[in-house]
């Protein structure tokens, strides 16, 4: 589904990604862990086309197409979604109206019927149940004044509305209380299908006990230094990152 080859990217002229290789197949769940500032969010944002980042080399194929030929909105309509670490607040635009617009843009792109406000009402009520969101959040302005956890819940609501093929969830767990993490983790699991893939960015193994990855990658200094099964997350929790860095340094000297 997604094939990243030797991807490099920089921001304001500073290289951040220094050669990423990663393959995601349909049905798979991958986790990316790594120290602060190592480039995890950057990788996600480059994949969804954030304009602040410049792709300086390498290639990314999404369903066989060159991802970088698509504008960010076209990537979204093609099924890529990123749940942001720091979702943006948009005053004056109601959450419900925004969600309906987003849904309809995608439906239109896929040749499905758009939903009018009444139909959407029924549709969204099912979705807010899935993420256990209170109804009043639909009438509020998009993310405005939402707490950190509420914003994350709203990101997963958007994911549930858009049903992406490839979802990148950047630190979904940060800012979430224990119950919320359980609810949203379960919601993400319910949305996972054999034809969809997930990329979970996190610092903590707890979320990976709910959304269980088949692969865990360590990203550090803009490179993936190690990839293994889900047991790697536990090992990182116990031992930190230094040993991975040392191992990688030793490996590259050989």
């Amino acid at each position: 589904m997604l094939s990243i080859k030797n991807l490099t990217a920089s921001i304001n002229g500073t290289p951040v990604l220094k050669g990423i290789d990663l393959e995601l197949k349909a049905g798979e769940i991958h986790a990316i862990m790594g120290p602060n500032g190592s480039g995890k969010s950057t990788l996600g944002k480059v994949l969804v086309g954030h304009p602040a980042y410049e792709v300086t080399g390498g290639e990314v194929l999404y369903e066989g197409r060159n991802l970088f030929e698509l504008e960010p909105d076209a990537r979204a309509r093609a099924g890529i979604f990123m749940g942001f670490q720091h979702p943006i607040e948009v005053p004056g635009v109601s959450n419900a109206a925004f969600l309906r617009l987003a849904y309809n843009k995608k439906a239109e792109a896929e040749g499905r019927d758009e939903l009018d406000p009444l139909e959407f009402d029924d549709f969204i009520h099912e979705k807010i149940k899935l993420v256990a969101m209170k109804e009043e959040f639909l009438d509020r302005s998009l993310n405005e004044g939402f707490s950190g956890g509420e914003k994350k819940r709203n990101e997963i609501l958007q994911m549930a509305v858009l049903e992406p093929k490839l979802a990148i969830l950047d630190e979904l767990d940060s800012g979430l209380d224990i119950d919320a993490l359980r609810v949203l983790g379960d919601a993400v699991n319910k949305l996972q299908r054999p034809d969809r893939a997930l990329l979970i960015i996190t610092h903590f193994p707890r979320i990976l006990e709910i959304i269980e990855p088949q692969f865990v990658h360590v990203l550090s200094g803009g490179r993936i230094l190690k990839s293994a099964g889900k047991e790697l997350a536990i090992e990182l929790e116990e031992r930190g990152y230094d040993w991975v860095l040392e191992e990688a340094a030793a490996g590259s000297q050989r």
Binding site: P51, E71, P72, D73, P91, G92, F98, K105
Partner: protein
């Protein structure tokens, strides 16, 4: 040269017969006017708001005409409306049958001169030229008196409609008196067709513990001048919340003056949506005269074409007004390279224990917000239009009258090219 033209305009406006009632008030106003002239750009307060074109106009008497108001009625307020056309009260278009007993709500022309509060609100402040013009020549307007502790459930609707073929001048006048503990929601709307000058004056007195919510909608014609004065005195623990929405007029000026007693609360929000060669000017004055009062001011402008917005927000915290909380934000969105905004906060603080903040921002849409919407599948144009709409609609979110809120959102959608995005309610 401007001076002479200005004098002609004032003389012209004052040439008609002086209405009989309130003779003393009118005489005083006229006396002050004989010593004054139209402001020019050398006047600091009118630096960016050029009245030259106005000065060159001459105005005939305002004819009595009938208008179809069906398109302007709002369901919550069909039975609480007073309508004025070309400055005259329109009894057949008005209907106050749903106004609760005890509330006095009638045209100024029916008020007795015993209505001595008229002209006395904000006497501590200097009278503006256009305020005096109104006092000298107002024909009619509305008086609203809400007695002690009465909380009026339905909003009241004041509709000032001007319909001019040749230039006319109208002087709407409003007096609102809320006794202790009274509560009222008031919608003041100005709209029209053709070339005219409208100089409304609104006087508000909110007594101790009373609450007035005041929506002010300016949708004057594209050829109109709208020069409005508001004076509000808010008593101990009283609240005055206003929201001024400027959509129309080739040139408009809002001059609210608000005086806060101990523990009073005020909000003074504004939105101006401008394009073409429109000019919208807000010069506000908030006076924290006593301790513990709070004020909140959010002023937003969206400026397109060659239009120009001016905001001058003066806040004065008097000596001894400890515990004052004053927040002011001026936020402006420029949609074209030729659009222009001049914004200036002016804080004068003579007390030491105060919490005052102000901020002014002039700019384009936030790229992070744009990207966020695009990352959810909206193309760049839709995202821009949605954000522009949201920037404006933000000011409308808390309008309590649902039908008004909806109507204004529609208006904003049309003006921000957001209509194609469907229902954004």
């Amino acid at each position: 040269m401007t001076l002479a033209v200005g004098s002609n305009l004032l003389a012209d406006l004052l040439s008609g017969p002086r209405p009989a009632e309130w003779a003393d008030l009118r005489e005083e106003a006229e006396a002050r006017l004989t010593e004054r002239d139209l402001p020019t750009s050398s006047d600091e307060d009118w630096k960016y708001t050029d009245l030259k074109a106005l000065a060159g106009m001459s105005f005939g008497p305002a004819p009595k005409v009938t208008v179809d108001i069906s398109g302007h009625l709002l369901p919550e307020m069909v039975g609480t409306r007073q309508v004025f056309v070309n400055g005259h009260h329109a009894p057949h278009a008005s209907c106050a049958s749903a106004v609760p007993a005890g509330v006095r709500y009638f045209p100024m022309s029916h008020a007795s001169e015993a209505c001595h509060a008229l002209g006395s609100i904000g006497n501590g402040a200097a009278k503006g030229l256009f305020e005096d013009l109104n006092t000298a020549r107002f024909e009619d307007g509305a008086v609203i008196l809400v007695p002690k502790n009465l909380k009026v459930a339905l909003p009241l609707h004041l509709l000032f409609i001007t319909k001019a073929e040749a230039p006319i001048a109208v002087f709407p006048r409003i007096l609102v008196l809320l006794e202790r503990g009274a509560e009222l929601e008031l919608v003041e709307e100005h709209l029209g067709e053709g070339p005219y000058l409208s100089c409304p004056v609104v006087e508000v007195h909110v007594a101790e513990g009373a609450v007035l919510r005041h929506e002010r909608v300016q949708r004057e014609s594209a050829e109109a001048y709208h020069l409005s004065t508001l004076k509000a005195e808010v008593g101990k623990g009283g609240q005055y919340h206003s929201r001024t929405l400027s959509f129309g007029a080739r040139l408009s000026r809002q001059q609210p003056w608000v005086h806060l007693a101990e523990g009073a609360e005020a909000s003074l929000d504004g939105l101006a949506l401008l394009d073409g060669a429109q000019v919208a000017d807000t010069h506000s004055f908030l006076h924290h005269a006593e301790p513990g009062a709070s004020s909140h001011q959010l002023h937003k402008c969206i400026v397109d074409g060659k239009a120009r917005a001016i905001f001058n927000g003066q806040i004065m915290v008097a000596k001894g007004a400890q515990g004052t909380d004053a927040q002011q934000q001026s936020r402006n969105l420029l949609l074209s390279e030729t659009a222009r905004v001049d914004t200036k906060p002016q804080l004068e603080i003579y007390a030491d224990d105060v919490k005052c903040s102000h901020g002014a921002a002039v700019g384009q849409l936030d790229p992070e917000e744009l990207f966020y919407l695009q990352s959810r599948g909206m193309n760049a144009d839709d995202a821009r239009n949605l954000l522009t709409y949201g920037f404006a609609a933000d000011v409308l979110t808390h309008i309590p009258v649902a039908s008004l809120r909806r109507a204004l959102r529609q208006l904003v959608m049309a003006r921000t090219q957001a209509t194609s995005l469907g229902d954004l309610g």
